[in-house]
């Protein structure tokens, strides 16, 4: 007797497990059972498992019997004429869904040619062994597996035409590509998913060669002429939001140009862009520090106000301004109210992003790189026919990564571009490499894709023939403009007087403990001292008690709180962090006595 489990719960025993499973399967194919019922007999442990639970992942396969798929030419004809649909095929039992349990007993053929009498199912397309993102990789079956998934990952970060109603939306941190194109070298999935309606790259000319060492280690050399003509240009959108919040006591924020007596008032200049309502005009060109939405808030502590500020309102300035390093153009202004009925202002700022050094580009094969130099068009190498590449890609990126698909795309793209047709490069079902080469040869090009090229600066012919072709390149959302950071002077923390941390706070770049060690190891004591003097302070120290004294600016003299006015006070320079530590030691009820000694 064989035990039967329904959703892993024991329900009973049967005599003939194989017949039982066969019956479930055939009744499902006939439509008597729901299509999501799966059953399997495990011979080794002599158990039948029937699965009906929701949440299992299932996948469709073509049913095969005696080495022949159930799907026929007739079905395909009907499908083409739109007479039947997918669900009809499922209803007819031509296609069925298997879950992981039933899949154990299935032998699935990858291609129709592979079918034998042993097989029980056939893949609908070999493409279905990879996911949606991965099937966008052209000639993916020629690539190393790792590069395939990297290529898929890169595509998710590409800037494109992500949605058609972008102009009404307030999406955070998005970019739109100017002049997006549909790839010449496409796959089945591009057609299936209407890639033409939301493309995210451009077809460009790529030469594989070195350029004065500027494309070492995945760096990309880009043609300034192409950049000027709009290659990989994008617009970066960023919404800013200000609300009129309500506070206790009936107080409310006010969106307007703040009065001059507001606490923390900026300069008139900073508010110059604002209209009468305190909101910026569309199409205003703004840079860092400019106020976008003027706002003032009620004072923070109401009770204390009565005692000290009897006259002035002392509202706080809380305007929304562009942060350090930001710039752009006001694109869109929305006035509305939030769920509590308070006034809400949203301003969308746009910024044109022309490709520059440090922007990230990639092909669809995990071959990402960063622009290292923008070369004037006249200095870019050219072919005999006068073609200048948009991008120069380093040949060292190929051998170790084994992305043959990258090379094939270049070759196929060249052929497609010259013939004016799209090339199908769906994984396992792509157009034949040899045919593509033949077409190229017929047009008078070398079938290996190489061409004679000339040095753009000297005009000399290169000894080697250069592999040049057309590829679909993507601009990734990582742009330097959002990442650059440097600082000479800037804000410091209140407590430690050391520089703030992080790009958002215009912070310093920390010279850490290990970096400190390198200075000591080099014996450069003076450099070390200078580097660490960001928080240096001069403090008065009492020679008598060794405690910190107090400087009285009004009388321009220092005194000791312990020893009195006449104590001998010396000024000492030390790091503020050390002064802070002395204070903290005092808070431990420990007396840190400084004994001063002449420097020389």
């Amino acid at each position: 007797m064989t035990e039967v489990y329904l959703d892993n719960k024991f329900v009973g025993t049967i005599k003939n497990p194989e017949d039982f499973v066969d019956r479930i399967v055939s009744e499902r194919r006939m439509g008597k059972l729901p299509i999501t019922v799966n059953a399997a007999y495990n011979k080794e442990i002599d158990e039948v498992k029937v699965e009906i639970a929701s949440g299992r992942s299932v996948r469709p396969l073509i049913v095969v019997k005696d080495g022949k798929p159930y799907i026929t030419e007739k079905h395909i004809d009907q499908l083409k004429k739109n007479e039947i649909t997918w669900s009809d095929l499922v209803k007819q039992g031509v296609i069925e869904y298997l879950d992981c349990t039933e899949e154990e007993n299935a032998l699935v053929a990858f291609k129709e040619e592979d079918l034998t009498t042993e097989h029980t199912h056939l893949e609908i397309s070999p493409l279905s062994i990879v996911g949606i993102a991965t099937s966008f990789v052209p000639f993916g079956n020629y690539n190393h597996g790792v590069r395939l998934s990297q290529g898929a990952k890169n595509q998710k970060q590409a800037i494109g035409f992500y949605i058609a109603n972008y102009y009404t939306r307030m999406d955070m941190d998005v970019s739109l590509l100017h002049y997006p194109q549909y790839p010449i070298v496409k796959t089945l999935m591009h057609d299936t998913l209407d890639y033409e309606k939301h493309p995210s790259g451009q077809n460009i000319i790529v030469a594989v060669m070195s350029y004065q060492g500027y494309n070492m280690e995945d760096a990309i050399v880009i043609n300034k002429g192409s950049v000027d003509r709009g290659l990989a240009r994008s617009t970066y959108y960023r919404p800013m939001i200000a609300e009129e919040l309500r506070y206790s006591g009936g107080l409310i924020d006010e969106i307007s140009i703040p009065d001059k007596d507001v606490k923390g008032f900026r300069t008139e200049h900073d508010y110059r862009m604002l209209g009468e309502d305190g909101i910026i005009h569309p199409e205003a060109v703004i840079a860092e520090g400019d106020v976008i939405i003027g706002k003032s808030s009620p004072p923070r502590f109401l009770s204390s106000m009565d005692e000290y500020n009897l006259t002035s309102s002392s509202r706080r300035e809380s305007s929304l301004a562009l942060k350090h390093g930001e710039r752009g153009v006001v694109d869109f202004v929305v006035l509305t109210e939030n769920s509590e009925g308070n006034r809400l202002v949203q301003v969308r700022v746009r910024d044109q992003r022309i490709p520059e050094i440090g922007d990230k580009l990639t092909s669809r094969h995990g071959q990402k790189g960063v622009i290292s130099i923008v070369i004037p068009e006249e200095n870019i190498p050219f072919t005999a026919s006068g073609i200048r590449p948009d991008i120069i890609f380093s040949p060292h990126g190929i051998p170790s990564r084994m992305t043959m698909g990258h090379l094939l795309e270049s070759l196929a793209g060249k052929t497609g571009a010259l013939l004016g047709r799209r090339i199908d490069s769906t994984m396992f079902e792509s157009e034949n490499e040899e045919d593509i080469k033949k077409e190229l040869l017929e047009m008078g090009f070398a079938e290996n894709g190489t061409e004679t090229m000339y040095n753009g600066i000297t005009g000399e012919r290169y000894m080697a023939r250069i592999f040049i072709g057309e590829m679909y390149y993507l601009k990734l959302k990582h742009m330097v403009a959002n990442k650059v950071h440097s600082r000479a002077r800037g804000p410091i923390q209140l407590l430690t007087r050391q520089p703030t941390e992080g790009r958002a706070n215009e912070g310093g770049l920390r010279l850490g403990e290990m970096e400190k060690d390198t200075f000591i190891a080099h014996g450069t004591a003076l450099v070390l001292k200078e580097r660490f003097s960001a928080d240096n302070t001069i403090v008065p120290v009492c020679e008598q008690c060794g405690m910190l004294g107090i400087y009285d600016a009004r009388r321009d003299r220092s005194f000791c709180a312990v020893c009195g006015e006449d104590a001998e006070i010396s000024t000492v320079e030390m790091s503020y962090a050390f002064k802070l530590m002395l204070d903290e030691i005092k808070s431990l009820a420990v007396y840190p006595k400084l004994k001063l000694e002449g420097k020389y």
């Binding site: 060690d517 390198t518 240096n536 050390f578 030691i585």
Partner: protein, 377 residues
């Protein structure tokens, strides 16, 4: 020519002079020899660490940087009796920390003349190994009616250990508290309790206890491996016990060595420990294929042993010995050091590096070290 060499006796170490002597060409004029030696002397002087060079920090960086590449591999011996030894980073940490209990204690026992040539090497090795009663037991049975426990012994094992059943019975009698009688037959020991109350319970307790009774060999030595090194035999042991090992007269007491730093210190003194630290660290680095200049390791070993006793590089060891309060406080448990310093009224003279970095003064290292002294008329 030897006069010229004599002139450099105090300037160049003897070993280098010797090397020069060997490598000199056959025909070499005195003037040329002098020139060579002068060059050698210059090179030798140049290889000195300069005054103010922070050798400790450079050493720490030189060991620390390749240390990040070290894997946690344990090293495997080829052969039947495999020993699993702590090596790699864990072992290095163990050595530098100066741990009292180490992962795998190991000894290399060199032997005296007839044995070092391989005489009875297997038997010797086996006799060193600590054996407990359970190693000899073939079967234990308890007869409930007679209130008697019968142990049948493994004869072949007895033979290797050169023991008889009555000898074992005697050892057992010593090892177990009173209350049992022992009888021996051919390869069988019978034990009956003498106490009256709950004898059966006692017997069951004894069954577990008896397995742990120490019979022969050296305590702590769990495995032995005779190895041929050059043309003599050496016994490598897992587990370290130099003191008991030296009681055996076949052991060469001048060459026995253990990887247990504390044991080495106890028996051979702190100088020996210094050498063991160097050897052990080099051994690990060699197996990992890492090349660190021996002087860095020697400096660490010197630091660990300079006080006369072994000290680890941690807050209980060398850091505790630092004269500066601030330097100690900057390394783990700062509050403890500050409070204790306050209790004893300690003074920090700011003589070392870290204190001065804290205050942002010139560190007394490298360019921060020299000062200018002028004489006033």
């Amino acid at each position: 020519m030897s006069d010229i060499f004599k002139g450099y006796k105090d300037l160049i170490p003897e070993s280098i002079l010797e090397e020069v002597k060997i490598n000199l060409p056959d025909k070499c004029s005195d003037a040329k020899v002098k020139k060579i030696l002068e060059k050698v002397y210059q090179e030798y002087r140049q290889s000195f660490a300069e005054p103010g060079e922070s050798v400790g920090l450079v050493g720490a960086e030189s060991i620390g940087e390749p240390g990040t590449q070290m894997t946690l591999n344990t090293f495997h011996f080829a052969g039947v009796s495999e020993l699993n030894v702590t090596t790699g980073l864990p072992r290095i940490i163990e050595i530098f920390d100066g741990r009292k209990t180490i992962g795998t204690g190991m000894m290399e026992v060199y032997l005296k003349k007839p044995y070092s040539e391989g005489k009875d090497i297997k038997k010797l090795a086996e006799s060193i190994k600590e054996s407990k009663m359970e190693d000899f037991i073939q079967e234990i049975s308890i007869n409930i009616t007679n209130l008697q426990m019968t142990i049948s012994l493994n004869k072949s094992k007895l033979e290797i250990a050169n023991l008889k059943e009555d000898k074992i019975a005697k050892i057992l009698e010593k090892g177990i508290k009173k209350g049992f009688k022992f009888k021996t037959k051919d390869g069988i020991i019978e034990i009956t309790p003498t106490s009256k109350d709950e004898p059966l319970n006692e017997i069951y307790k004894l069954k577990e206890k008896i397995k742990d009774v120490y019979i022969s060999g050296i305590k702590g030595i769990t495995q032995v491996l005779p190895v041929k090194r050059g043309n003599e035999y050496v016994i490598v042991t897992a587990g370290s016990n130099i003191k008991d090992m030296l009681k055996h007269d076949f052991v060469d007491p001048e060459r026995i060595i253990s990887n247990d730093l504390y044991e080495m210190e106890k028996i051979f003194g702190v100088e020996a420990v210094r050498q063991v630290i160097i050897n052990e660290v080099l051994k690990v680095l060699d197996t990992q294929g890492i090349n660190i200049d021996i002087r860095h390791i020697m400096l660490v070993a010197d630091t660990m042993t300079m006080s006369g006793t072994l000290m680890g590089i941690n807050r209980y060891g060398i850091v505790k010995e630092k004269p500066s309060v601030l330097a100690r406080a900057s390394f783990e448990t700062p509050v403890k050091h500050i409070i204790n310093a306050a209790l004893t009224g300690e003074v920090d003279y700011l003589n070392s590096v870290i204190e001065n970095v804290m205050i942002n003064q010139l560190v007394p290292v490298g360019t921060g070290l020299p000062g200018l002294v002028t004489k006033t008329k």
